[in-house]
């Protein structure tokens, strides 16, 4: 499998983009064409991501499959794409999650525009994960907002208009500040080195911006990512957006869009401004840890099942932020791994909640009872996914959380101690919800709850398989993530001027 010159990364972005246009142009008289075309496009994209995964050179640290074409030459803006261990699995997750989201739930109306928006969303997300040019990244980052806004506003639940507006304005405000940060970064870099460029790799490797300026710039970027992740106290858009979004919208929002924020921290925060990220690490560690506990406590209090899962996202993303800012190999690797795992488990949870909401037309936990008696397979699937979200060993959630906690304990001891408590809280709210919804005797309304259909089972199957596989044998993932993480951590060490505590290797003693 020698390195082919097929521009796979550009193809990854262009395929769903073109697909969106094709679906939008499909004739109105043939609505039955929409879904097959969309599925074809998303499955083709998924196949491309799998090919990317297979073709990825394990053990290589730098960016692979790099494409670079000049776009706006006078400003040094180029179509610069690349993938490394950190973004690889996020891209694969995106590729896999989108067809599943499409299959999981059908829109009640206007399937054509719904599908077109989803495909445009996919193009935007893939573009964001693959960009190595600041301007290009910003373009894709903003593009992601528009389809999500329309998906929530057009196909969501009762309070959708408020939720979609809040989502759009919050995220846009963060990116507005990031845009100024981007320009200032480029301007300062140009002042020092003489070349105007938006290229991330160039700016990161030259590290020519003064310390003070870099700290401000890091904050500008961090604001946008903090809204996306979301970090307390900028998280208030999330519960509404997740709850009011249609099922596919929630799956994609939680599964993929939140990762844009944490990925941004790694790729643009740590990589571009290593010293500043080290300087501000205590702040972000604190915010992340507060998020873990606060998100979990809020989740416990929820009466709406979907809102409970939304708050659990806040809690889980807190772990990822903790891992990112602890700067050890294991913690960052755990963070990246957890990004993928969270995408799979929370995506699965939202799909299941969507199924419940479709059948019973309610998401209130108090209205649901004893579903296990009438739908045992459904209950079993839900319980497995819930366990994965809790972090039960043997399932994927455990690996990520474990690595994060172990890695962070070295450098961020007391934060980790508090965060570990969050694991218990996760068990609390999820198991309590499972108990209330599935255990006990079903009443009249719940007795008619239909079992998991074959189609739904097929949708859940790949997610379940991933949950188990990544939990039992995460080595292939870790092998590919680790080299890039190592390079990033070394980069931070070098410029931030600190040394990682050395972990004793197994077998060193006696």
């Amino acid at each position: 499998m020698a390195g082919s010159t097929f521009p796979i990364l550009s193809a990854l972005i262009v395929t769903p983009g073109v697909g969106a246009v094709v679906v939008a142009l499909l004739p109105k008289q043939r609505p039955q064409l929409v879904k097959p075309v969309a599925l074809l496009v998303t499955l083709a994209t998924a196949a491309l991501t799998v090919y990317l995964l297979v073709d990825f050179k394990t053990g290589a640290a730098g960016f692979q499959d790099v494409t670079k074409h000049s776009w706006i030459g006078s400003l040094g803006i180029s179509w610069h794409l690349g993938v490394d261990g950190i973004s690889l699995f996020l891209v694969v997750l995106t590729g896999i999650l989108f067809p599943i989201a499409l299959l999981a739930a059908d829109p009640p109306h206007d399937a054509k525009s719904y599908t077109a928006w989803i495909l445009l969303l996919e193009a935007g997300v893939l573009g964001s994960f693959l960009s190595l040019d600041l301007f290009l990244f910003f373009v894709f980052f903003e593009i992601v907002l528009v389809p999500m806004y329309f998906l929530i506003g057009g196909w969501g639940y009762d309070n959708r208009v408020y939720a979609s507006l809040k989502f759009f304005l919050f995220t846009m405000a963060g990116s507005a500040v990031m845009l100024v940060g981007i320009f200032t970064t480029v301007a300062l870099h140009a002042n020092e080195t003489g070349t105007v460029t938006f290229d991330v790799v160039e700016i990161a490797t030259s590290q020519s911006i003064s310390q003070n300026a870099a700290r401000w710039l890091f904050l500008a970027f961090a604001l946008a990512f903090a809204v996306k992740v979301p970090l307390i106290p900028l998280h208030t858009w999330l519960p509404d957006a997740h709850t009011q979004a249609p099922t596919a919208g929630s799956v994609l929002l939680a599964g993929v869009l939140l990762k844009l924020g944490s990925y941004g921290f790694l790729r643009f925060g740590l990589y571009l401004f290593p010293e500043a990220s080290h300087y501000f690490a205590p702040l972000f560690l604190t915010l992340g840890t507060i998020g873990i506990i606060y998100g979990a406590i809020c989740a416990c209090m929820q009466r709406d099942l979907k809102r409970l899962v939304a708050y659990s996202s806040v809690a889980h993303m807190g772990f990822i932020v903790l891992g990112t800012f602890a700067f050890t190999m294991q913690s960052v690797t755990g963070g990246v791994l957890q990004m993928v795992n969270h995408g799979v488990s929370t995506g699965a949870l939202f799909i299941l909640v969507g199924f419940i909401s479709e059948r019973r037309h309610t998401r209130e936990i108090s209205a649901l009872k004893g579903l296990q008696a009438v739908a045992p397979i459904f209950a079993a699937v839900f319980i497995v996914v819930a366990f994965s979200s809790i972090g039960l060993p043997g399932l994927n959630g455990f690996v990520g959380e474990f690595l994060v906690l172990i890695g962070s304990f070295l450098t961020a001891r007391w934060w980790t101690v508090v965060a570990a408590g969050g694991v218990i809280l996760a068990a609390l709210y999820l198991l309590w919800a499972v108990q209330r919804v599935f255990m006990g005797e079903p009443d009249e309304a719940n007795r008619s709850f239909k079992e998991l259909t074959l189609r739904e089972g097929l949708v859940m199957a790949p997610l379940l398989a991933l949950i188990v596989f990544c939990g039992v044998y995460p080595k292939p993932l870790i092998d590919r993530i680790e080299p890039s993480v190592k390079e990033l951590v070394t980069h931070v060490e070098k410029y931030a001027g600190f040394e990682l505590p050395v972990t004793p290797t197994p077998g060193a003693k006696g």
Binding site: S74, L75, V146, G153, V161, S164, L165, A176, T184
Partner: protein
């Protein structure tokens, strides 16, 4: 108009619009030749030093002509719908455009004033051009009175500058300030401030913006489109030429003033737009916030700032023309239904029109891959280059506030509540063409902005002394 008076009644339908568009188109084509000329031979000064021919004036001419074409397309069916088919509006448009072009190319303050008055008087009459609507008359009177005041301020400012520098000719002013150290600067500073007031009124900068919402709302919609595009372009062109180039020496004096104006304008425009219920008023306030953005570019006072402002003016002209084209179609005869409810469910009645308006509104909000984003980008880059970081952040935050307004209109269009009016919405071919041009421009420039950005960079104003 003379031609129309001579030809007997019974011009073919849309004849006036076609003639107007053709004239403007011809002007644009000739401008291309002028551009070549300027690139080869450098800037020149014509008419005894009164008019400058440089890249800047050619650029402004092209933008104004484009705006005239777009407005002619919109006005065509509008006038027929209102029962006012006639050549007056077109003649006034061409006169106003001529005034605007003179403003953009003026090399002398008095000539600039001539252009300003020609433009303004034509606009006053255009605003009053719907005799059946009381609001139209009211808006014209308001505009006239306030405009008269501001022209008086402007003229007084010209007089003071003349007193301080001994000339009204821009090249002479520039040379004088470059070579002489003024002992008593008060005269000049007062003159500059008064000039700023005069310009501020015309470009709708706060706190001189009070006339904008009322006039934009009252005037017939195609006229609003014309005012928003040509009025601003001409006024900004003059502002750039006078302040950045001629009074460039005194940068440190007028830049802080512009900083305050820009911030006020941005805040007023975005925040007050949010509380409006009438779409035309919303768009009026949004045009105030766009003026604030362009002021950010002017405040940067460097070549990038001028280029950014020019590029913004160009994209803004197309965006506003397209937006108002759709508004003209939707508000119905007599500009009666201008509330947000008029747009409710537009996506079901006319999906392509709704989609076009969505693209244009998102472009105004500054979403990437549209021309609007590139325009904001250029202006913010200029501000960052001039180290006005706080201004850049305020500008971006105001764009988020303004985005709310555009989103509200979009939400209303796509909402599925309420019943859809049974009557099919008529979209005349003129308006449809204008909207298509605007959307195409927005998306094409959004994806490939380099050419236009480079053109704007080359259109830097140069002051050349007269022969």
């Amino acid at each position: 108009m003379v031609v129309a008076a001579l030809v007997p009644r019974g011009w073919p339908k849309g004849g006036y619009a076609v003639v107007t568009a053709t004239l403007a188109g011809a002007a644009m084509v000739m401008s291309v030749f002028n551009w070549r000329d300027v690139q080869d031979h450098g800037a020149q000064s014509l008419v005894g030093g009164a008019i400058a021919l440089d890249g800047f004036s050619v650029f402004i001419t092209v933008v104004i002509c484009a705006a005239v074409i777009m407005t002619a397309l919109i006005a065509d069916d509008f006038l027929r719908r209102e029962g006012q088919d006639g050549c007056e509006l077109y003649a006034l448009m061409l006169m106003a455009a001529a005034g605007g072009i003179v403003m953009g190319s003026a090399n002398d303050l008095i000539v600039l004033f001539l252009g300003l008055e020609t433009l303004s008087i034509a606009l006053y009459v255009m605003a009053a051009s719907n005799p059946k609507r009381l609001q139209s008359q009211e808006s014209a009177i308001k505009y006239f009175i306030l405009g008269g005041f501001s022209s008086a301020f402007f003229l007084y400012g010209v007089a003071l500058v003349y007193g301080a520098t001994g000339s009204t000719s821009l090249p002479k002013i520039m040379d004088f300030l470059a070579t002489t150290n003024l002992l008593n600067e008060r005269l000049l500073l007062a003159g500059m401030a008064l000039l700023m007031v005069g310009f501020g009124f015309k470009v709708a900068a706060a706190p001189f913006h009070i006339w904008v919402p009322d006039v934009y709302q009252g005037a017939p919609t195609p006229v609003t489109s014309f005012m928003a595009s040509v009025g601003k372009v001409a006024a900004f062109a003059a502002l750039l030429r006078v302040f950045v180039v001629a009074l460039g020496q005194y940068e440190s004096d007028w830049r802080p003033l512009l900083w305050v104006l820009a911030v006020l304008t941005l805040l007023v425009g975005s925040v007050l737009a949010v509380v409006q219920t009438d779409v035309k008023r919303m768009l009026a306030y949004s045009s105030i916030s766009h003026a604030g953005f362009i002021l950010v570019g002017v405040q940067a006072a460097n070549a990038k700032g001028v280029a950014g402002s020019l590029f913004y003016l160009l994209t803004y002209a197309f965006l506003v023309a397209g937006t108002f084209a759709v508004v003209t179609v939707v508000v119905g005869p007599g500009d009666s239904q201008t509330g947000l409810d008029a747009f409710r469910g537009l996506a079901r009645r006319r999906p392509s029109l709704a989609l076009a308006l969505t693209v244009l509104l998102l472009a105004q909000a500054g979403v990437p891959l549209t021309a609007g984003f590139d325009a904001k980008f250029e202006v913010i880059v200029a501000a960052v280059d001039a180290k006005s970081y706080v201004l850049a952040v305020i500008a971006m935050l105001c764009s988020v506030i303004a985005a709310f307004v555009y989103l509200r209109i979009t939400v209303s269009m796509y909402s599925t509540d309420g019943e859809v009016p049974a009557k099919r919405l008529r979209v005349p071919i003129g308006a449809a063409t204008a909207v298509t041009i605007a959307v195409t421009f927005t998306l094409v420039v959004g994806f490939f902005p380099s050419n236009l950005i480079d053109l704007a960079r080359d259109a830097v104003p140069v002051i050349v002394s007269g022969s």
